[in-house]
């Protein structure tokens, strides 16, 4: 496995929305490298013929009837919000236009 580069670590922090100091990123680079070296051994036994398991139990088709349940009141919904304005969650200006 390739050692993880500082650029990769920085990119991961962006993907994970973590505003970390260079020092912290440096430390993480080393730690992640050690951990990745050791967990990479899963590849030793993961041959192509083995199906992956995403769910521990083989349940399927768990559905809910399309029946309205009581919602929270706006007060309850907003009760824990750091900032609220006119019944909405107030958030800082959005740079990225995705959405």
């Amino acid at each position: 496995m390739p050692a993880i580069t500082p650029d990769e670590v920085a990119h991961l922090a962006v993907l994970a929305r973590l505003d970390l100091t260079p020092e912290h990123l440096g430390r993480l680079g080393v730690e992640l490298d050690v951990i990745l070296q050791s967990v990479a051994r899963v590849a030793e036994v993961a041959s192509a013929d083995i199906p992956p398991t995403s769910h521990p139990l083989p349940l399927t088709n768990v559905f809910r009837a399309d029946v309205v349940q009581p919602s929270l009141t706006a007060e309850q919904a907003l009760s824990a919000a750091p900032a609220v304005e006119s019944g909405r969650f107030r958030v800082p200006r959005i740079l990225d236009e995705e959405g």
Binding site: R17, L18, L20, V34, I50, P56, S79, A81, P82, P92
Partner: protein
């Protein structure tokens, strides 16, 4: 009169039901114990004195009114801070949730309430259940009542310590890779990870959704079984909940008989890497099972040695996604919002400030494991190992009724000892992780003190999916024989605090 905090949950329930002690008296006794010792132990993050006394009073009122009481009515319980309780602070041991008061009850919480169980408060844990020592709590570590300089295990160290310190006769833990069983082992208490899907995850703040399972913690196997029966069962709010009757765990615990059972010792979970005293007490316990009429054989689970690696890819992957919702927009901490910064910057600062080192480490690890280009090598391969581990269990349970191993490779280590070495910390879960990967149930019970350090050693029993009752059958039988041999419950040996 007798010290109510030394009694078992079933004994307390009987006293309350018979009117020989009121639920309020029982609750007061435990609240007093908490104020006396929790300064030293730090098992609790929040004590809900008022709520607990109200709940107790309600039970006494029910009894006075002659309405039927549940099997644990009036019995106090310590709730791990990862389960929501309406109006009560729920932090998951993290700064990022400081002061958050949920608008709803977890299904487990609601079932405890309606059973008349008295919830004393919320217990300390490694941040978002990531750790094996409770040192990763943003609110300071919990201390092991056997030796305050040592860890109580983790992530559910608070719940286990509360039991060992007689602050509560019952507790709820959650187990993603051993967070119920390993703390039980190092505190001399009993802890069960039920079959995945056996207890609702609704209101359990997810670490790794496909691994998390809430379960009972107690000072003896029967108490745990009764608590299990109260919290378990199908919940339509959890899509992964099993729509089947709860396994007959209480009957099994009462039966306490292993005659004719086949017990398999997992070769890959013994020997190298296990502390001598741990191995010794384990071997003695296995021999005892044979004396009690069980047939003991050695079985091999060849892929268990890969379980730890698979787990430390699957868990971080799921948790990197589960913890994304903690962004300071709808609840919890918001950092750096000075009116000039963008939402992207504020989210980044909130998360960097609110999460501790281990949480950040695992979020980064999971983000990496799921990234395009690495997915197949890491997450994909880990899921295949998960298949292999599940097959190992299936093959083993063709030959035996239950599997046993030491719960943890060592007894309680010193606070700070492994804090700087993540890999060493992760190794604590080597024996408990396979059950989480396969969804199978596991129990840990104390089998003695390690000669070299006088600290509790845990034995793990593992059973097939939805055969949780086998854990209790074996656990109760072994417990009875051991207590008879010792002449007293192991926790009588906990030093006075």
């Amino acid at each position: 009169m007798t010290d109510l905090t030394r009694l078992t949950a079933t004994a307390l329930a009987a006293l309350v039901a018979a009117g020989e002690a009121s639920a309020v008296e029982v609750t007061r006794a435990h609240l007093d114990r908490i104020s006396a010792v929790d300064g030293a132990v730090h098992a609790f993050l929040h004590v809900d004195t008022e709520g607990a006394l109200d709940a107790a009073a309600a039970v006494d009122a029910d009894r006075a009114a002659g309405s039927p009481l549940g099997p644990l009515a009036g019995v106090p319980l310590a709730l791990k801070d990862v389960l929501t309780m309406e109006g009560i602070p729920t932090t998951c041991g993290s700064r990022i949730l400081e002061g958050w008061r949920p608008a709803y009850d977890a299904t487990v919480t609601q079932r405890l309430k309606s059973a008349g169980v008295v919830i004393l408060g919320k217990t300390n844990m490694d941040e978002f259940a990531m750790g094996s020592s409770t040192e990763h709590s943003a609110y300071g570590p919990t201390h092991n009542p056997w030796d305050l300089a040592r860890i109580p295990g983790g992530s559910g160290g608070g719940s286990a310590a509360a039991l060992a310190a007689f602050e509560a006769p019952l507790a709820i833990g959650t187990d993603t890779g051993g967070s119920i069983r390993q703390p039980a082992a190092v505190t001399g208490t009993v802890g069960i990870k039920p079959t995945y899907g056996g207890v609702s995850r609704y209101g359990l703040v997810a670490l790794a959704s496909s691994l998390d399972q809430a379960g009972p913690c107690a000072r003896n196997v029967l108490d745990a079984a009764v608590l299990h029966s109260v919290i378990a069962g199908y919940d339509p709010h959890d899509s992964t909940s099993i729509d089947q009757p709860v396994p007959p765990v209480v009957e099994a615990a009462r039966r306490a008989d292993v005659r004719g059972m086949k017990v398999g010792v997992v070769r890959e979970l013994t020997g190298d890497g296990y502390q001598a005293g741990v191995q010794q007490r384990f071997d003695e316990a296995v021999a005892l099972l044979e004396e009690l009429g069980a047939e003991v054989v050695e079985v091999s689970c060849p892929h268990f040695p890969y379980a730890l690696a698979a787990y430390y890819l699957i868990l971080p992957s799921e948790c990197s996604s589960n913890l994304a919702k903690f962004d300071g927009m709808r609840f919890g901490l918001r950092a750096g919002d000075d009116g000039t910064r963008s939402v992207e910057e504020v989210m980044g600062r909130t998360r960097a400030t609110g999460f501790g080192d281990e949480a950040i480490r695992r979020i980064m690890l999971g983000t990496y494991a799921l990234s395009a280009g690495y997915y197949d090598a890491y997450y994909g391969s880990a899921q295949k190992v998960r298949t292999l581990v599940t097959r190992d269990f299936a093959a083993a349970f063709e030959q035996v009724d239950v599997l046993v191993s030491p719960t943890a490779p060592t007894t309680a280590f010193r606070l700070g000892e492994k804090l700087e070495d993540p890999l060493a910390m992760y190794l604590n879960d080597v024996a408990t992780i396979p059950a989480n990967l396969a969804g199978t149930p596991g129990l840990s019970l104390p089998v003695g003190l390690a000669p070299e350090d006088g600290l509790p050693v845990g034995l793990q029993v593992m059973a097939p999916v939805m055969a949780d009752e086998r854990l209790y059958r074996v656990g109760a039988a072994l417990e009875a024989a051991l207590v008879a041999r010792w002449g007293a419950p192991i926790l009588d040996g906990v030093p006075a605090l």
